[in-house]
Assembly symmetry: C3
Homo-oligomer: 206 residues x 3
């Protein structure tokens, strides 16, 4: 398996994990089946779409590689059938979601780099790739985006991991190793937040 194939596989896994969470979010709102498939797809592919539109990168990710769309629709369908039989284990979902966030964030930062954008722009684009899909899901289901008010480490985990990745790559570490370190930092921080309650402060000015 080449590196490009590995990246695509990891991205497909991330897409699948986020599509499951989108499907469940739509189910809680009693959307119809078209709505469920739409929310699952936007949750999983919204971040990469926002990144590509802001960077002017065409064709955007799922227009270039429609397999991502098919995966979303298939995952949404399987999830709808599966939850009729039994409840999905929430911790498994959270771990899968953490993997998705990590892969998307580092991939997004790397794509910005490849287009000649560095530093803050790479951090912003990576974080958007990881977190904007969930924010769009929340807006479309009538919620204030959890990523903006949740206080757990989500966007902040992505930012930390991207900074580790960019710093190591800047120090001459081989890019694949730097990317792996960034992914590991994001997953570690995210799991620390989920299972040990790590938090960031709120700003209350009412």
């Amino acid at each position: 398996m080449t590196t490009a194939e590995l990246v695509r596989l990891l991205n497909l896994m991330g897409v699948g994990a986020l599509a499951v969470s989108g499907t469940l979010a739509a189910g809680r709102k009693q959307f119809d089946l078209i709505g469920v498939a739409t929310i699952a797809t936007i949750t999983a592919l919204g971040g990469g779409t926002v990144r590509d539109v802001l960077l002017g990168r065409h064709p955007i990710v799922w227009v270039e590689d429609p397999l991502f769309l098919y995966v979303c629709l298939a995952v949404a369908g399987v999830t709808v059938l599966a939850v009729r039989r039994r409840r999905l284990p929430p911790r498994l979902l959270l771990v899968a979601d953490a993997l998705g966030l990590a892969v998307f964030a580092i991939t997004g930062a790397h794509i910005a780099e490849e287009m000649g954008r560095t530093g803050l722009i790479a951090v912003v684009m990576g974080t958007l790739t990881g977190a904007a899909g969930g924010a769009l899901r929340d807006v479309l289901t009538g919620e204030v985006p959890l990523v903006l008010r949740g206080r757990d480490l989500y966007a902040s985990a992505a930012i930390a991991g991207i900074i580790v990745y960019l710093s190591l790559a800047g120090l001459g570490v081989e890019r694949a190793a730097a990317a792996l370190a960034g992914v590991a930092v994001i997953i570690a921080l995210r799991l620390a937040s989920i299972f040990a309650g790590a938090r960031i402060p709120a700003f209350d000015h009412s």
Copy 2:
């Protein structure tokens, strides 16, 4: 009248129908006149805008042809004046909206095809062209998009009509005839939903 002129005329009729529905939605929320014109325009042109931005197609539809914008503003103005005198017939509006959805969906799918996108991408782009404007209207007026939760045939009617269009064109049927068949399927399904109560199932996972 050439085919291109006919397509433009049908599109202008669709824009007008959706602008009326946007104006009425803004009126129910007591928006000011700028807000009404904005919501009317976003309802009517939002779908084509989303399609063009996602496909990287510039200039986007109403930047290339500002007549679409002028029609939205004129329709919004006439609607505001008209409803002060008498209630608009709701069934007429629904039929006009069905025509708009049908024309937008087939036009959107055709534009994706012309850019070399086929299959699922053409279905997605056609459906977005027909349905995304109404979804943006709902989000901006503080509602969860009706198209995602309404259970009546709206996005699903568009999808069915686009599949008929693409299938017939793929089988060698002349494109104009295939497009007409697609438009007819969408209008028929939409009217069946409005007047005979055809529905798609919801997914309730609360």
Copy 3:
């Protein structure tokens, strides 16, 4: 100081003013610090982003000139620290916001002109540059956009100023003078609305 440097300085002042208002809006919703920085940035840069995406102008403003992003983050940080000590004077903020609106609106219209778009498209793009960031802030904090329902002169002030600017430039007035006149009209109308209660009518059709 050249004209280009002056425009950039005025734009940075507008970005700073809108970032303060975004920070305070996020504080009222008890967002976490990442959420506050995000809302401040979207409030300040959302309008220019929407304009550039709709015009297909890449790299978009803050990707090309990341100083805008750094200013947003710095202003958000300083604002969070400052409001812990004392309340910011609301009238000062409103005047700063009026300046931001005016500069953004005329800059946005000018950018559309430079890309060969005139008339209604320049008006729409200028108004979006001034007002879309606040609308995105409102949607992301769970509010119906104030600009659509507020009845005070905001988008309407921008539209009037842009029309003055385009008309004077069309009559052969030197562009810098025409721009200054447009900026002055917007600030005057906005302040008239804030301090003298000038209003536009609502359309109530419930």
